[in-house]
Symmetry: C2
Subunit: 297 residues, 2 copies
């Protein structure tokens, strides 16, 4: 997906929020915005939003001497999600269609996104996911909920590449992976995280903190953008990406990076931005399970 | 009120929306954003948001050769509001406290603002005002609703300077002015509009289209910013401003421009932006009637 002009105001907002998270004072915040403004004329809209966002966050790190602005936030998001893991597992176990519930919860967990939801309260969002008991999730299902195709592909798959999105959300991913492995014990799953800190995207340590190592092989994609940008990825990852029977991609950033990729991908995410809502004819808050070979826009 | 750093992303959004209203194609839109980006490092945060916004809209006019991007929108907003004027008047006449209802409706009309509410549907907003029968207006009243002080000042006033905000909203202003004159027939009211087109702010022709000439004297403030920026105002206006027994100021833009003015002012507006919400300890959607001598922030 190409960057839209509407992403530009959002980059300024993200830079400001990230600068504040990094402890920038007002003068430093203004300098960061000024530096971003200087970059804008050279921004090409033919790149994807995660590639552009990478430059935005790099500006903040450069100005503040930081490497991982969201480190504490990521750790805490993981802990908050881990605290409710058992509760979520019970929901899955007790539901009529346990796979569907696991899929829905994995998408619900995608709300923990500091790029798109800048004033996020993870505690509140997690409480909402629990209290809603998936009612509102079902209500806000959009045009894109290709669950039958998802199931049909799962039945045939021998190996799955699962692209992680954010810290905290990883716990929800673990529950979906656990459910897939319970139903199809022979499937091998590889869980790909980002290679370097970018916003609150999951890294290797987040995957381990959330127990992914007990249910899947963890690798780094090589991408340090807030999405799996293929040209940034390692050869090892690309081989897996091309050969996997099924790719499950979590989050908006991965959709932005991979919507034009030349293979079938199951995109699971919540719509958190009006640009993407428009792009796929959905609305904010919609729950998306979209197979890219079904995109008709 | 000084411009906040959070206003910067919003300026980009406003530029983009205004460029599209002016018929800019994608290339022109990008050029306008690039030109705005080049201005940012020279922006001083010690000026008020309406002064900064003036430069933003000037960029769009310069690029597109336009003078009054919102001309048709303003005309239509006036007509839509005129269509329900009788209905609103009935509400005022039939209410227990007719002045309070007129004040509340005048604030409700402040929702017609293309600067703060960029994707506005005037028709829908007006329908909402009518259908809510002020219920939600009362519910969303904030800390700042100095109605008693407003009434006490009205009783003593011989002349009032009323600062207009947006087209369409002018009809709601006319109803409040009519109610004030019904209660206090001796009060003289001067209605000040902007001197040149800026967003959808009311001009002389809007005041006349909405029938203000039948209830008040209309003048131009001399300001062509989206707020009554005193240093841009004419001497005639400044004399009135300093001598008026009471100043009624409509809208966020006028609040931004005049919140630090050295005279008492009754600010009537709806909170449409998070920066102002934070500034006066309120929340989005709040209905504000604030006497500036009561500000304690």
């Amino acid at each position: 997906m190409k960057t839209h002009l509407d992403c530009i105001p959002c980059f300024f907002k993200q830079a400001l929020v990230a600068a504040r998270h990094a402890g920038a004072n007002a003068k430093q915040q203004k300098e960061i915005l000024d530096n971003l403004a200087k970059l804008i004329p050279s921004f090409s809209l033919s790149t994807t939003p995660p590639e552009m966002a990478k430059s935005v966050y790099a500006l903040v790190n450069e100005a503040m001497g930081t490497k991982d602005i969201y480190a504490t936030i990521k750790y805490n998001s993981n802990q908050l999600a881990l605290n409710i893991a058992e509760n979520l597992q019970t929901k899955i176990t007790n539901s009529k269609d346990s796979l569907l519930t696991a899929v829905e919860l994995a998408i619900a967990g995608n709300i923990i996104d500091y790029g798109a939801k800048m004033n996020l309260n993870v505690d509140t969002e997690i409480a909402k996911i629990l209290s809603e008991e998936n009612k509102s999730i079902k209500k806000s299902k959009s045009l894109h909920f290709d669950y039958t195709e998802f199931k049909n592909n799962l039945v045939k798959a021998k190996n799955i590449l699962y692209l992680a999105d954010n810290a905290g959300e990883v716990v929800f991913d673990r529950l979906l992976i656990t459910e897939i492995k319970r139903l199809y014990p022979k499937i091998k799953i590889t869980y790909a995280v980002k290679s370097k800190p970018i916003i609150n995207d999951a890294l290797l340590e987040d995957a381990i903190q959330c127990g992914i190592d007990k249910v899947a092989t963890i690798i780094s994609s090589g991408s340090d953008a807030a999405g799996t940008v293929l040209k940034l990825c390692s050869q090892e990852f690309l081989t897996l990406f091309n050969k996997a029977d099924m790719v499950i991609s979590k989050g908006q950033g991965n959709f932005e990076a991979l919507s034009e990729a030349k293979r079938s991908i199951a995109f699971l995410f919540k719509i958190k931005c009006p640009v993407i809502a428009k792009e796929i004819n959905s609305k904010l808050g919609d729950v998306i399970l979209l197979y890219n070979n079904q995109i008709a826009y």
